[in-house]
Symmetry: C2
Subunit: 488 residues, 2 copies
C-alpha cells in the first residue's frame, strides 16, 4: 500500500477517491482487530512462497501479456461444449498401429514403468495377440520393442495406467465451441481391470467383449441420439453429489437414462442389449471415461497461449507426476509421483500402494474432481476425511484458480462456480498445490485397485513451470510505449 | 436444575457425580459467556410456547408412558424396510368400487373442496366413464353422489389432490419389517395432470395409457425383479442431492437404472417398452409416488401407541391442513390450509395459488422432504431461498424430532441421520412448525401447477393435538407404586 512500491506507469487517479479498505494477509490478528473497528477487510490466506522464485514470479507478473493470456485461457476452457458423438477403434480415433501404445501421464519407458503400468501393457499385448503369456509380453517390453507415447500427445486421456492399444474402442468427444476432439477408452468397471494393471484371462475376455459388443452398441446408441450434451450432464451431476473424478454415481445414472431409449431403438440383438444395459448399469464410474475427455476437450483450446501460466494438463504415469502449462507448449514438468493418502480396500494398506497414476487429474485441471469436492461431501466415505474437509478443499482452490466456471456450480456454496484454470504462479506464490482425489493401484503388476484417497502433487513441478514461464516472459512495457486507450 | 423442581420419584444418585454442564435456552449471551469460561454448554434455541397449554404440556411430560412410547414410535418408523412389490388396480389394492374416490388430506366434502380438488374429481369421473363432460361431472359432485374418503384411511397416500378412482393402477409397497402395505398411484409427469386439478382430454388419455400400458409394464418389471429395495434408493438419493419431496431427480434416475434391465427381460411389446422407458425417463418426479408410500409404510406401524405424541400423518386437502398423532388414533386435527410461499411458473403469481394440498407431507412426517433440505441445497432454485436456508431448515428440525434416522443420512452435516419422528409437544413448546416444501396448484379447477415453495403449517393443529393428548395422559406414578425394576 505504500507509495514507493507503485510502479512507474499510468497515473493513480481513482485509487484514493473511495472509502479505504484493507487487505490482510496471513496473520489473523490484524484482520479481526480491524474488523472489530468496523473496517472493511478482505482476508487473504497467505503463506510464504514455495521456493526462492521471487524474481521469476515478478517477471511473470510484469509480463504485459500474462493477465490477458490467463483470462483468455479460462474463457476458452469455460466456453467449451463437450459432446459425445461416437465410438471408434483407437487405430482410427487416435491413429495408433500394431506395437504402438498410449499410456497415462508424462512420457515413460518400460524400464522406468511401475508395476500397474507394466501390468496394463502386458494386458494390452495379450489382448492384441502380440504375446500368448504374460512372461512373453514382459520380454517384449524388456527388449524395448514397444512404442510408447502419452495419451495427451494423441488428443486422448486414460484413467489409471491409461493404456490404449489399436483395437480398443474409444469414446469420441467433440468440443462444439472450438471443433477439436478428445478421446478415451470405455470404462471396464471395478475389480480386476487393465487400467489398474490386472491382466488375468477375465480381463482380456472383457476387453474383447467391449470391442465386439459394447463399443458398437454405444456407437449405435449415440448415432441414434445424434449427440449427447456432456456439459449438461456434468452440470446436473455436480448438483447431485458428484465431483466427477471419484464420484460419478449421478452422472452415470443420468448417462444410462439418456442412452437407454436410443439403444432400444438402435436395432441391436436383444441379448446383447440386455448385457450392455446391465454392464453400464452396474458401473457407477462408467461416466468417468466421458467426464475425462470432456475436460480434455475443454482444455486443449487453452494450449499455446503465449504468456499464460494456466495449466492445460496434470497427469501421472505411476512413476512421475507431470504438468503442462499453456505458455510452455508441449513441455512436461515432472517430479516423482507420491503415494496417495486414503482408505484401503479389504486387507490392503499403504505398503501395497503404487505411487499416483493416471490422466484423471484432467478433471481437476478442468475445474472438477478435487476442486469441487464441496459439491460431493459423500465422497469422503471413499477417499477419507470429513465433509468439512471437502468444503475446505474447494474453498482453498479459489486461491490458485484464475476463474469460476459459469456452468459448473456448487449449490452448497450458494451456486458459486467451480474454481477453474489453475495458475502455476498462484500455486507457487501461495504454497497451495491443487487438491486431487484418486483411485490407488496396487504396486505389483496384476493386483488391481487397492484403495482411494487424496494426493499431494509435488510442488517442484509448479516451481519448474514458473522458472520456464519466467524465461519466456516479456519485459513490461515502459510508460511511454503504453498504447492502451482505457488508461488515458 | 434446582432441587425443589425434582418430582417425587426415584432417588437422584448420579446427578451430581460428574462435572457440571449447563443448558442455556434462548438468550445467546449466557451461552457465549459461559463458553468463553470453558464451561460445557448445550445451547437450546428457545422461544415461548405457541399457546397457553403449559398445563397440557406438563401433563403429557408427566405421563410415565410418553418417553418410551415416543421412542417406540421412532424405532418402528426407522426400522421400516419399504419394498416395491407390485402394481394393482385401486379396486384391488385399496378396495374401492364405482363411485368411491380417495383424496388427499383430512376428510372433505365436494361442497368444501377447493378448485384443484374438484378438478381432479372431475378428471377421475371422466376417466371412469361416470360423466361425459366436465359439467356433468360437476353436477354429480354437487348432488353429493360421490363417496369420498381420505387416502390415509385406506392405507394409501396421493400427491396434490391425491384423487384415486377404482381403475387407476397403484404401486404396492410392502414394509418387510412389519408386513404392512401402503399404496400410491403412478406419477403422471408435469404439465396438465389430474393431481394438480386438470381434466383436459389429454389428461384422461394419459390416465388410460397408464392403466393399459404403464401399470402392467411396471408390474411385469417388478415381478421379474422380485422386489425393489426403496430404502436403499432413498438412502442413496439423499447423498445425491434429493430431499425426496420436491427433488426426486437422483431417486428417479436410480429407479430407471434398476427397472430397465428387468423390463427388458419381461417380454413386453417393444413399442410399449420404448414408450414406457421414455415416459419414466422423462419425469424427474417419478419416484415421488414411490417415496411417499415408502414413508406411509414406515409410519403406519407407529400408529396407536398409547401416550405417544409422535405424528403419523400430516396431510392437506386444499382446504384444511390436518395431522394425526400416534396416541390419538385416527382422529384428525385440522385448521385452514395456508398458501405456500415460493416461486411461480411463467406469469402465475400468488393470486393464482390454491392453499396447500396433498398427502406428500408424509415425506416430512417420515424424516424426508423439508426435514432434509440440507442434503438437497439445489432445491432452493425450485422452492426459493438460499442454500444456507436449506441447511438452517434441517438444523432447526432436530428440535422437534424425537430421533435421527440411522439409514437416511445427510453428508454435509457429517452424515448425521435425518431428523425423524415429529413430536407435537416439541412443536408447541418451541413454537417451531415442521419445515415443508411443496408444489403449488392453481386455485381454479383445470389449471394445473403454478409454482413450488415452502409451507408454514398452522400451529393450531399441533396445539389441538397437544390438548387431546393431555386429555388422554395418565397421571405420573407415585414413588410407592413404581413397579419398574431397573430403577431399584
Amino acid at each position: 500500500m505504500s507509495a514507493d512500491s507503485a510502479p512507474t506507469g499510468p497515473p493513480l487517479g481513482g485509487l484514493l477517491d473511495g472509502a479505504p479498505a484493507v487487505v490482510t494477509a496471513g496473520v489473523e490478528l490484524f484482520e479481526s482487530t480491524l474488523r472489530d473497528q468496523g473496517v472493511e477487510v478482505v482476508a487473504v490466506d497467505w503463506r510464504p512462497p514455495a521456493a526462492d522464485v521471487a524474481a521469476q514470479l515478478a517477471a511473470i507478473a510484469a509480463d504485459p501479456r500474462t493477465a490477458d493470456a490467463n483470462q483468455t485461457a479460462v474463457q476458452r476452457i469455460t466456453d467449451a461444449q463437450p459432446r459425445w458423438v461416437g465410438v471408434a477403434p483407437a487405430r482410427d480415433a487416435v491413429g495408433i498401429g500394431t506395437g504402438q501404445f498410449l499410456h497415462a501421464g508424462p512420457p515413460i519407458t518400460w524400464e522406468r514403468a511401475s508395476g500397474p503400468m507394466r501390468g496394463a501393457l502386458i494386458a494390452a499385448m495379450l489382448y492384441e495377440g502380440m504375446a500368448d503369456t504374460p512372461e512373453e509380453a514382459e520380454q517384449i517390453g524388456e527388449r524395448g520393442e514397444l512404442e510408447l507415447a502419452p495419451c495427451h500427445s494423441a488428443g486422448a486421456v486414460g484413467p489409471m495406467a491409461g493404456v490404449v492399444s489399436p483395437s480398443m474402442p474409444m469414446f469420441v468427444i467433440e468440443n462444439a465451441a472450438f471443433g477439436n476432439t478428445a478421446h478415451c477408452t470405455l470404462n471396464e468397471g471395478l475389480g480386476k481391470v487393465l487400467r489398474y494393471g490386472a491382466y488375468a484371462p477375465e480381463v482380456i475376455e472383457r476387453l474383447r467383449w467391449m470391442e465386439q459388443v459394447l463399443g458398437p452398441a454405444m456407437d449405435a446408441g449415440v448415432r441414434q441420439l445424434g449427440s449427447m450434451d456432456l456439459r449438461a450432464i456434468i452440470q446436473q451431476a455436480m448438483q447431485m453429489g458428484d465431483e466427477l473424478h471419484n464420484r460419478n454415481r449421478a452422472a452415470s445414472a443420468l448417462f444410462v437414462r439418456e442412452i437407454v431409449p436410443p439403444l432400444l431403438e438402435a436395432g441391436l440383438d436383444s441379448g446383447d442389449l440386455a448385457d450392455v444395459v446391465r454392464f453400464i448399469n452396474g458401473n457407477e464410474h462408467f461416466f468417468l471415461n466421458l467426464g475425462m475427455p470432456s475436460a480434455k476437450a475443454a482444455l486443449d483450446p487453452a494450449r499455446d497461449i503465449p504468456g499464460s501460466s494456466v495449466l492445460v494438463a496434470m497427469a501421472r504415469n505411476g512413476t512421475d507426476f507431470g504438468i503442462q502449462a499453456s505458455g510452455t507448449g508441449d513441455r512436461w514438468f515432472t517430479a516423482p509421483a507420491t503415494v496417495p493418502d486414503g482408505l484401503y480396500l479389504g486387507d490392503y494398506g499403504p505398503d501395497d500402494a503404487n505411487p499416483d497414476i493416471g490422466d484423471s487429474t484432467i478433471t481437476e485441471t478442468g475445474g472438477m474432481g478435487g476442486f469441487v469436492m464441496a459439491a460431493a461431501p459423500a465422497i469422503v466415505r471413499f477417499v477419507g476425511g470429513q465433509a468439512s474437509d471437502a468444503l475446505d478443499a474447494t474453498r482453498s482452490m479459489y486461491q490458485i484458480a484464475v476463474g469460476e466456471h459459469p456452468h459448473y456450480q456448487i449449490p452448497i456454496l450458494e451456486f458459486r462456480g467451480s474454481p477453474v484454470g489453475i495458475d502455476a504462479t498462484r500455486v507457487v506464490r501461495t504454497s497451495t498445490v491443487p487438491a486431487v482425489n484418486t483411485g490407488i493401484a496396487g504396486r505389483v503388476a496384476g493386483t488391481g485397485q487397492v484403495g482411494a484417497g487424496l494426493v499431494t502433487p509435488p510442488m517442484e513441478v509448479f516451481v519448474e513451470a514458473v522458472r520456464a514461464l519466467a524465461e519466456l516472459a516479456e519485459p513490461p512495457a515502459t510508460a511511454g510505449a503504453d498504447t492502451s486507450t482505457d488508461r488515458a
